[in-house]
């Protein structure tokens, strides 16, 4: 087995494990919700008036109910498969880099495999600090789709770097852009859950029994706080990405900003996330509307990776190959 095959096979392995993890995380969500509802119904736990309504999610259900923690088993499987998947993913990425002889983010196939890796990595790193298992299904699901698409549709054999990319700025500028994509992917899942959870709480949508799993997700306010932290990190890093890109453009093309389609969309993304940060503190915009802005920013980010690379003519055209 040569290094090319090693990369492709480990990446397929990661894809499979992420798919399993996605189902495990989804099952976990459903079970946590069941346990929560069961605990409420069975004991009518005196949730004291003083306790904040959304305090402990998985209320340490009084031992009597159910052989506790059927959800814990699913959570264990989910965590383990995600972790092993991420390891295989890392091996696949490293093998691709060794095979190509340069950092593995110089075309769309490589952006996609490294961006999805950073999404899973961001998820795993945050999970070390706080319980965000409820994001697992979304994150591993998106990673599965991204890796699957990369390996089937976007795959490109390794090639040397074109002269325009022969620069250490490729390491700095593109790596940070890819890491931002990973972080904002996790944040996007959080914002989407926030909107769904909020709709269910107010009875607007997603209120039926089929969406009972939303009960296992923290309150909209907590999700907002979580996504804000990720968006804040993402926004600072995106600002850095744009600045590093401008410095590189000045080096390579003799101008720091030229409204190339890629630059236009980087600017749009920046402005949308800036609008999101302002909306959070504006009356009438905090909550749902600001969450929609964050989602719009993420959609623009994905557009910049896909539509702009494939359909718009510009100086960044090598990105599409």
């Amino acid at each position: 087995m040569n290094v090319t095959e090693l990369s492709v096979m480990t990446l397929w392995g990661a894809t499979t494990l992420y798919a399993i993890a996605m189902f495990a995380y989804a099952i976990r969500l459903a079970r946590v919700a069941d346990e929560k509802v069961a605990a409420k119904a069975a004991v009518a736990v005196p949730v004291g008036a003083g306790a904040p309504a959304d305090a402990p999610l998985v209320a340490e259900a009084p031992a009597a109910s159910s052989p506790v923690k059927r959800s814990a088993k699913a959570a264990g499987i989910a965590r383990a498969t995600t972790l092993v998947g991420a390891m295989l993913h890392a091996v696949g990425l490293a093998a691709r880099g060794i095979d190509a002889g340069h950092v593995p983010w110089s075309n769309m196939y490589e952006y996609t495999i490294s961006g999805s890796f950073f999404a899973v990595a961001a998820f795993l790193i945050i999970q070390r600090r706080r319980d965000i298992a409820f994001l697992g299904a979304g994150v591993t699901g998106m990673a599965t789709i991204a890796l699957g698409l990369a390996l089937t549709v976007l795959y490109k054999d390794v090639d040397t770097l074109p002269p325009a990319l022969q620069s250490y700025w490729l390491v700095i500028h593109v790596s940070i852009a890819t890491i931002v994509t990973g972080i904002l992917t996790v944040s996007f899942v959080t914002s989407a859950l926030q909107l769904m959870r909020d709709s269910r709480a107010t009875g607007r949508r997603w209120a039926g029994a089929r969406f009972r799993w939303l009960e296992a997700v923290p309150s909209a306010a907590k999700l907002e706080a979580l996504s804000f932290r990720m968006n804040a990190v993402g926004f600072v890093l995106w600002t850095f990405t744009v600045m590093a890109g401008a410095i590189w453009a000045e080096h390579a093309w003799g101008r720091y900003w030229g409204w190339d389609p890629k630059e236009v969309w980087s600017f749009v993304i920046w402005v949308l996330y800036a609008a999101y940060l302002h909306a959070r503190t504006t009356q009438g915009w905090a909550g749902r509307r600001s969450a929609w802005l964050a989602i719009a920013g993420y959609v623009a980010l994905i557009m910049n990776f896909t539509v702009v690379n494939l359909f718009f003519q510009g100086l960044h055209t090598y990105a599409g190959s």
């Binding site: 600090r129 706080r130 090639d159 040397t160 074109p162 002269p163 325009a164 022969q166 620069s167 700025w169 306010a221 907590k222 907002e224 706080a225 979580l226 804000f228 932290r229 804040a232 926004f235 600072v236 600002t239 850095f240 600045m243 401008a246 410095i247 000045e250 080096h251 390579a252 093309w253 003799g254 101008r255 720091y256 030229g258 409204w259 190339d260 389609p261 236009v264 969309w265 600017f267 749009v268 402005v271 949308l272 800036a274 609008a275 940060l277 302002h278 909306a279 503190t281 504006t282 009356q283 009438g284 915009w285 623009a300 702009v308 718009f312 003519q313 510009g314």
Partner: protein
Amino acid sequence: MARVKLDNYVVPAAPRLGFRGWLRWIWRQVTSMRVALILLLLLALASIPGSVLPQWPQDAAATRAFVADNPFWGPFLDATGFLDVFGSAWFTAIYLLLFASLIGCIAPRAAHHYRELRRPIAATPRSLSRYDGAGPERADVAPDDALARASAVLRPRAGWVGALRGYRVRIDRRDDGSVALAAETGHMRELGNLVFHASLVAVLLAVAYGTLFTYRGQAIVVEGRSFTNAVSAYDTFSSGSLFDPSDLDPFTIRLDSLDASFSDTGRPLHFQANVTYTEPGEEPVAEEISVNHPLESGDAKVYLQGNGYAPVLTVRDAAGEVAFSGPVVFLAQDAAYTSTGVVKVPDVTTGEQLGFKATLYPTFLEGPFAVGSIHPDPANPVIEMLAYTGDLGLDAGIPQNVYTLDESQLSPVQDEDGQPVTLRLALGETVDLPDGLGSVTFEELPRYGAFDLRADPSLPWLLTAAVLTLVGLATSLFASRRKVWLVARDDDGTTVVTGAAYAPAHDAGVGGVLERAIAAAAGREPAPGAEEKEEE
């Protein structure tokens, strides 16, 4: 929805706004967060056409074609600024309003922040029960001493990191005999926010300054030839309105050779121009210019932006005299460097002027299915050309594009059957034109480099402003805004301390600070993990 009323004439007694009132109202609207938000969204929306539609500054040729192909939409979009979005009146209006809003918002806030920093922080609230609390705990010392210990933990520590991360503290003795400590941090957050917004203004000013003083020129230099930095030497030259042409440093660049390497499949690997660079009065220096590695000369940089072939052609007229001889710049049309060029021969001794439309195939291959170049390297260079006779139209005094032939007064050279003749020359060959019109010789095949020289005196300022923007932004988002309160009272000889803390919802670390403060007051070790939790 309330109806918008411009002025309330229905109720005669209601006060009128008047002119100054209106101005004030407009200013208040412009500086409101809601309007800033809408302007931001408009800015994002207004940018999008700039990536979808062809733009004059980015691609004039495509834009011209777009206008020509769309007889209604082309001129309409052009007139409304959609083909130069980022220079259009409406885009400018949006960002100028946004910056007005920004300045109107941060100037008062900066003044407020300055006053706020010099004022003592607010005293501890009467009741702490609204906040997340800690305690009560017993302390082994008197209330004053207990809070002094807590204060020591919270106040700025040595070193500038400690200084930045410390809390402002006040301690009050209350009427009921208790002692209250209030500690607050958050000034860095607001300071970072102000720095960020002010730096954005600085970025805009730096860009404006650069636009006024920048200059940029493009020149094509064939191997073995030289170029002197003067406005007249450039093929194209543009500059800001306050640029002075005498500022140009008259250095000379001689292109000794241009290395272009390609993989076997024709993929570009490396381009490098080997030049001799001479400053006036200095010794010549050998330099290399490649993509991503411009040559720096004073405040200007010279970039290698493109390359191609400039075949050396010699044209003899009907009398056998050399009418033209020299390199002709051909423009590459595809990845295999199939290149096109035009030769204009106005100075013939007898007969009509000559013109040629030529195509160069660096590695020519004539196969059963296609004829063309299969690789960008000059393995088998062949030039195919169509010859024309007549009037080149050069005498009209109108500047002509050197890459196109004005065929309006030219007729193609034809063979006996009346078909246009295609001449084919390999390197070193000479072909005779029909009807004794003369001959063409393909002498040599040097490469050329397309150089771009640019100076922008605003770059150091721009970089400084950008770095400040980033630092300010990071501080405004990551510095914490927390309040911690402790109340110590004497309860029959023992000191009892209670505490509470407040921070925005996303900041879970404030509990760690409270734990550290109350532990210090109580004279015990903080619970394990408090420090770590604080960092979250």
